[in-house]
Amino acid sequence: MIVRRLPKPAGIMGLGALFILMLALPRILGPYWTNLLNDMGIYAILGLSLNIILGHCGLFHMGHAAFYAVGAYVTAILSTRFAVPILWTLPLSGLMSGVFALVVARPIIHLRGDYLLVVTIGIVEIVRIALVNNIFGLTGGSNGLLIINPISIFGFQVFSPAHFYYLIWSIGAVTILLFYLLQNSRFGRALNYIKQDELAAEGCGVNTSHYKLASFVLGAVWAGMIGTIFAAKIETVSPQSFSYSESVLLFAIVILGGAGSIPGVLLGAFLITGLPEIFRELQSYRLLFFGAAMVAMMIFRPQGLIPPGRRFYKVRPYLGRFPCGIAARSGARRGISLSASPGYPAGTDAGADAGKPARGPGDMIEEQA
């Protein structure tokens, strides 16, 4: 099952068409639906950042809203107290959120599976309660903080849904590109090794605790930066935006869409934020549908709607260039002896993927006779 890429011209044309469609969407849909697309974009980017931790590294992290909250509050505090322009706070939000993740994740990083899950739920609750209690007198308690000055890019003020749409989805595009490159690299593979078998990964030379921590910090940095955009968009940053249920929603986006898959997470974000709006009349049944869908997914498609594809490696130039440590000997023996079971000619297992049984000794004897 070799993953084949789209032929180049078709791929470029497809991307071009998508780009034009994305540019035109706010005009076609109008402000209400554009605003929905903005929410979807924010959740998609948050989902992608959680995907690094949960999808690629396999760490059950259900406290992502805490990192998101740190970013949003850093922006809100700097903007209201010190009148720092909002976009300037973007890197700082990411940094603070990353440092926060480093501090809280370091002592818990060795926990496995559901133990980690429980602790991360604790983290998001502690953060929310700290915010409600107006920690350090900075967070404004349960009312939160009101942001007055809008985002301004070289004097251009971002305030309408369409403006936010372009800003959010540009960040989304950059995120998709960077995370795509990341997953096709030494770093991305290391996270997958840990997800599949942590002990084997460590035994192959992967510094597992370093990579687990790095995935937490990277996910948090991204969530923090999106916190800034969220704060600017919503204008009032308050604790109820960063509740435990928000974390569960993000968790569901990743698991439902496909852990470790970028298209999967995008679809997950669309379904979880978009569908409830589209079927507004049925809103009172929303949680019922949501729960039923999750149960059905776990039974029928636990790998998610779009599971991750295989990576593509350019190995052609290296094939057939290197000697085999077995061939020389077994080849010679195969020539003289029929009785022993045959050595394995290269490639006989290739069909195993398609369910073809591997060749047994009988096949070879028949052929030779």
Binding site: G188, A190, Q196, C204, R321, C324, G343
Partner: protein
Amino acid sequence: MSILRLRGLSKSFGGLVAVDEVSFEVSRGGIVGLIGPNGAGKTTVFNLITGNYKPDEGEVIFENKNITGLLPHKIVEMGIARTFQNIRLFPEMSALENVLSGCHCRMRSGLLASMFHLPGQRREEQAALETAVKELAFVGLEEQYDNLAKNLSYGRQRLLEIARALASGPRLLILDEPAGGMNDQETQDLIGLIREIRGTGISVLLIEHDMNLVMKICDYLIVLEYGAVIATGLPSEIKKNGRVIEAYLGADNLLEN
């Protein structure tokens, strides 16, 4: 001249003494076999060498450096690679990616280089691919590079583990029952392969129950029973050692075959 030296290594789990004052050496360029009945503590000794367990007492000296208590990935970096008794591949990844995990510790590109695919990262990735294909070809699995590890036959999964270990560029290779679950032909091929590995200058330490294989390729044997070394010597000496025959084989004619 020894590449690995164990000095008075001990490990107990609760009240059970799994490894009791074990000392032995692996000579550079040698193939050393660690044998003994089930539950003798062989795999525990391996786990102590590779850092999966920390010894209660004693030292592990590799190339004149004390590596006792280092984390497993550090020990791989220093030049000891291993395979596992119960195969531990990354089942949902291709054979190639499994071998690339061995290359990991010889690569340097960090988070930012990986995120932006900087030129150094791309060169490094190409070099790693070349190494991975080379090791796959070496164990005879080149054609299988794109198959998922879980879809390979049992014998091939064992070979893939060896390729993955070799990709880390070790100077000592530790094999835990490499012939377990292999048929006669596969075992014959494995014997050839281990000799080839030694031929490239890598020392080998192995646990194996297949006495045929052990007697054919090992140039030195260490026999464990109840966590303690009961005999060491050349295969021909071990074959005749009364204590070993009594403790390990029970009957004296088993080694004749």
